[in-house]
Amino acid sequence: MSTATPRQMTSLGELASKRQDSTDANTPAKIDVEKLNFYYGDKRALQDISIRIKPNLVTAFIGPSGCGKSTFLRTLNRMNDIIPGTHADGRILIDNVDIYKSGMDVVQLRRRVGMVFQKSNPFPKSIFENIAYGLRINGMAGSKSELAGRVEESLKQAALWDEVKDRLHESALALSGGQQQRLCIARALAVRPEILLMDEPASALDPIATQRIEELVYDLKKTYTIVIVTHNMQQAARVSDHTAFFWLGRLVEYDRTEKIFTAPAEKLTEDYVTGRFG
């Protein structure tokens, strides 16, 4: 693993000095959200969300259940489109292109903005086929050896290769929960996304498996822009550079993680991160 694993970084005070401040306005935002509202039927689930998410950092979304953090995450690759009766207004710019504009190719968007779900959902196929699927459907498979090479590379990126290299053609469902989740991460990485959305990726895993996912997130941010939803505030503190706190469909506060956890500007944020409600 890298020199500073997230597990070692539990002391928040230490963190503040290590992390560069990139909320400053001159770093261009990878994802720029302006006044986003999102509706399930008539019910407004997100209200006037505006946030600028920086490239090559980990941004954590925290907040109590039902606060809209997962809903917001799923607007970033338009995953909510498949739920009937939903709609969004406002703008979400990814690399300055509005992903909700008419004529936007959602299929291409989702290739660029990968997603890992709360409950690992490997396809009921072999380990190899789980990774190869995304490459095949996107016409990225190339020759047989290119495909095999890409599968290996993805599994290595997800720190799963050594555990599965001798059983690539066995069912993915035979893997442990933590391995399945890393397989899902490898699957998402295989199609070379720029952004990786993670919806509570470790909430169903034991502490060891959780630690491996967190270490992975820490490594992956060199290459990807990562947005992670989590219930676990220690996890947000360990893995993220920036943290956004959501409450009742609103974005209450968004700042550098150590600021959110040590000196939040809002009383509500303070009450939540100190465990007074939530």
């Binding site: 995953m79 291409q108 290739r111 779900f117 699927y133 459907i137 998402a188």
Partner: protein, 298 residues
Amino acid sequence: MSTAPLALAADPASGRLAWRRFADVAFQVVALFVLLVALASLAALIWDIVADGATRLSLDFITSFPSRRASQAGIWPALIGSIFIILVTAVLAVPVGVAAAIYLEEYGGRSLGARLIELNITNLAAVPSIIYGLLGLGLFVRMLGMGRSVLAGASTLALLVLPVVILSTREALRAVPGSLREGSYALGATKWQTIWHQVLPVATPGILTGLILALSRAIGETAPLIIAGAVTFATFAPDSIWSPFTVLPIQIFNWVSRPQVDFHGNAAAGILVLVLLLLSMNGVAIWLRDRYTKKGAA
């Protein structure tokens, strides 16, 4: 252990405990009894048929044509007719039914139109089969000029089983977990790629089960085929989709309604052939289903 009675006495639920245990056992006994009644009547039926028909069942019986003499009469044209009809029915009904179900389930949405269509299909599944026979006679035999052919009969049966195929396929598609679809969409798959590569393979065992139930219903149908022009005394086996034909249930019906007792033995033997045909169809379906289930897990 000595404290156990005390603990029980303190348990507020213990008052009804004896009654709950009795109800538990009583339900089990009643369920078993009902199951035995059902099995016993089925066994009696099969025993009766075997007793009447087993002696007539022979290779000769299977490969012979009908005859005026019961001892020489065989079931060959009806057997081939049944197999032929069911194959053509499957070829017609399966692609249309599965495709319709995919459209309704995956693309149709929840609009008023889609719900109306759904209601209609559910109703159609309960329409008496003789109505389909009348439709087949009017539409296929006369209007479309198919005549009294295998194609007309199979088309009629295809219409008859279509609602069942659609409903069971929809159920199978609906049972595919949403997380699988999401996983596929999240990788940049189109709707069709998701359906073809992820949803259909997982739904296949369920779809096959529904198909076999639908086709099993079709193979036992008599009324619509009599109306749509099956012949009752076939001295030839159908050799093309334009041939006249008969099927096992019609041949059986024909024999049962004759006054000579010897023919009743033929009818019983015919029933045995039909039951064996059904069993082998179901066997193939179970084999296919297991094969696909294993393939999915491997």
